[in-house]
C-alpha cells in the first residue's frame, strides 16, 4: 500500500513525538516501507544545533537510533534548511515529500505555531497531494 513513509521530526521536541514514531515504525513494518525522517532548520544557530551541518548530523544519528530501537529495516534522514522556518516549514515539508517520493506522511501534532489555529499537520495536508496521517496525543 505504502512504499515510502516520511516522518517530519522536531528534534527539539522528541519527547512529544513518541506515539507518532511508534506508529510510523509499525506501519513501516506492516507495509515493508522505507522511512525517511525529515527535519527543518535555519542557517542560524538554534536550540538543536549550531549550524545546518550539525543539524544534519544529529538528524542522521536520530534516524540511526530509531532503526535500532524499532527494528525498521530501511531508514534514512533528510535535513532541510530554510530561511524562515516559522513561515516556510509546511511548504518545505510538502516539497520534500514530492522530491523524496514519499507516499505517506506520518507526523505528530505539535503545539500550534500559526495564526490559522491549526496544527502543522493540518496545514501540510492542505498543501500536499500525498496521504497524511496526523497522530495526536492519547486522549
Amino acid at each position: 500500500m505504502f512504499k515510502h513513509l516520511m516522518v517530519p521530526v522536531d528534534l527539539g521536541h522528541i519527547d512529544k513525538l513518541d506515539r507518532a514514531l511508534k506508529t510510523a515504525a509499525d506501519l513501516a513494518a506492516h507495509y515493508g516501507a522505507k522511512v525517511t525522517y525529515v527535519g527543518v532548520t535555519s542557517p542560524q544557530p538554534g536550540a538543536v544545533a549550531h549550524s545546518p551541518e550539525e543539524f544534519a548530523e544529529k538528524l542522521a544519528r536520530f534516524a540511526a537510533g530509531q532503526t535500532e530501537l524499532t527494528g525498521i529495516e530501511r531508514a534514512g534522514s533528510h535535513a532541510i534548511t530554510v530561511h524562515d522556518p516559522s513561515i516556510d516549514l509546511d511548504r518545505k515539508l510538502a516539497e520534500a515529500a514530492e522530491t523524496l517520493g514519499c507516499d505517506l506522511i506520518v507526523m505528530g501534532s505539535h503545539i500550534p505555531k500559526r495564526l490559522d489555529l491549526g496544527s502543522h499537520g493540518g496545514h501540510l495536508a492542505a498543501l500536499t497531494h500525498r496521504s497524511v496521517m496526523l497522530v495526536r496525543d492519547a486522549a
Binding site: Q44, P45, S51, D84, P112
Partner: protein
Amino acid sequence: MTDTTNQGIPAPEGSSDLIETDYSIGQDNLEGSFGPFGFDIHNPVFMVSGIAIVAFVFYTLALPDQAGAVFSWLFSSVTKGFDWFFLGAANIFVLFCLLLIVTPLGSVRLGGKAATPDYSYAGWFAMLFAAGMGIGLMFYGVSEPMSHFSSSLGGTAAEGGVRSDWAPLGAAAGDEAASIRLGMAATIFHWALHPWAIYAVVALALALFSYNKGLPLTIRSAFYPILGDRVWGWWGHVIDTLAVFATLFGLATSLGFGATQANAGLNHLFGVPINNTVEVLLISGITAIALVSVLRGLDGGVKVLSEINMGLAALLLLFVLIAGPTMAILTGFADYLLAYLEYLPALSNPVGREDVNFSQGWTSFYWAWWISWSPFVGMFIARVSRGRTVREFITCVLLIPSLVCVLWMSVFGGVAIQQVVQDGYTAAQEADLPVQLFLMLENLPLASITSLIGIVLVIVFFVTSSDSGSLVIDTITAGGKVDAPVPQRVFWCIFEGAVAIVLLLSAGGLASLQSMVISTGLPFTVVLLVMCWAIWRGLVAERRANA
C-alpha cells in the same frame, strides 16, 4: 542503513572557532499557547520590552502635552550634551571598518571556511539597502541638499556669540557654486560612509558570533568575549531590551516620516487634506499591508518587496537623471564626491565646532538615528549575509551603498538645486520638507506619474521596514530563535505602528519621534563601541582556528 541528504541553502561548513558554552539557545524561553496563539518568548526580554512599550503608548496617549514637553527636553539635552560623543564614535566605526578591509582578518568567512552565500548579490543588496535607508532617502533626497544649500548661501549669523544659522561649517555666503558643493558634501556626509559603517559593525558582530561562534542571533552574543557566561543573565537582558527599544523607536520615526510624506504627496496629487486623521489612517493601512508581508515570511515577503522597490527606485532615479539636466548631474556626481572627501575631515570633527545648529541638530541627530536603527538593520543584514567573507561583507555594506547614496543625492538634490539656480524655480525650496520631492518632480515631465511612483515607493519602503523590523524584534525577544510562532511578529508589527501613531499625535509630533530616537541611540552607541572590540577579538580567534 542511513543515508543523509542535505538539501537547501547553506552548503558545507568549514573549520570555525565555536564558543563552548553550556547555554543552550531557548533555555530561558517560555513556550506555550495563549488561546489559539502559540508563543515562544524569551523571559524576561519579551515581557520587559513588551510591557514598557505598551505602557509608553498609553502614557503618551493619556498625557500628550506632558509627554511632548519631556520629549523636547530629552532631544535638546542629548543632542547638545553628547554631540561630541556621537560624532567621535561614528568616526571610530568608519575607521574600524576600513581597517578590517585591509587587514588579513578580512579573509575570514562568515559561517565557516567553506560556507556559501545564501542569497545572490542582487537579492542581498536589495534587502540590505531597502532595510537600511528606504524611507529616509525618499524624505531627505531632495529636502536635505536643498536645506544645506540654502543655509550655506545665506551665510552665518550669530546671537550672543553663538551661531544661530543652520549652515554647515563656515557656510559660503552669497557664493552659489560653493554653496552647492558644501550643501551636497554635508548631505552625502550624513548618508554615505558613517551610517553604513554603523550598520556594518552591528551586522558583522551578529553574523560572526552567530554563524562562526554558534551563539544565538541576538545582540548580547557579541558581548560574550567580554562578559562570558554572564551575557545569559541580566547584562544580556539589558542589552537586548535596549536593542528592542532602539529598534522600535528608530522604526517609528521612519514610519512617522513616511506617513507625513505620503500624506504630503497625496495632498499634492489628489488634494487629500493634511492632518493627523489621514496620517493615522495611513500608518494603520500600511501596517495592515505589512502584516500580510509578515505572514509571507522572509523570502515571500521582505525579499520580494525589496526587489520590487529597488527596481522602482532605480526607474525613478533614471527618469530624473534623464529628464533633468543629465550632463550637469553626471559631472555633479563626480564633483560632489570630491567635495565630500574634501569636507569630510572638517564635517566629522567632533570637538570645537562653531556650526552648532548643524552639528547638533543635523549630524548628531542623524548619527543617533542610524545608531538606533543599527540593531534592526544590522540584525537583518546579518541574517542574510551568511557565506560572505568579512572583506566582501564590508565592501558591500559600506562602500557600495555609500556610492549609491552619493548618486541618489546627486540626482535628486542636484536636480532640485539646478532648478533653483538655472530656472529660478523655487517652489521646492520654499515648501515644507515632506512635499519638496513632489515639487521637484512637478517641474519635470510626467509629474503625475512620477509623483505617484514616489508615493508608492514611500509606502512600500514603509512596509519593508515594518516587516523586517518585526522579524528582528521578534528574534531578539525570542532569545535568538528564528522559528518562533508567527503571532509574536504580528504583535510587534502592530505595536510599531501604534508607537508611530501615538508619537505623531503627542504634542511634539515628529519632534517627539526624533527625541525618542536619540535618547535610545545614546546608550546604544556605547554598545556599538564595545562591539568593535569584540569583533576584533572574535576575528583574531577565527583566523587562528583556520590557520
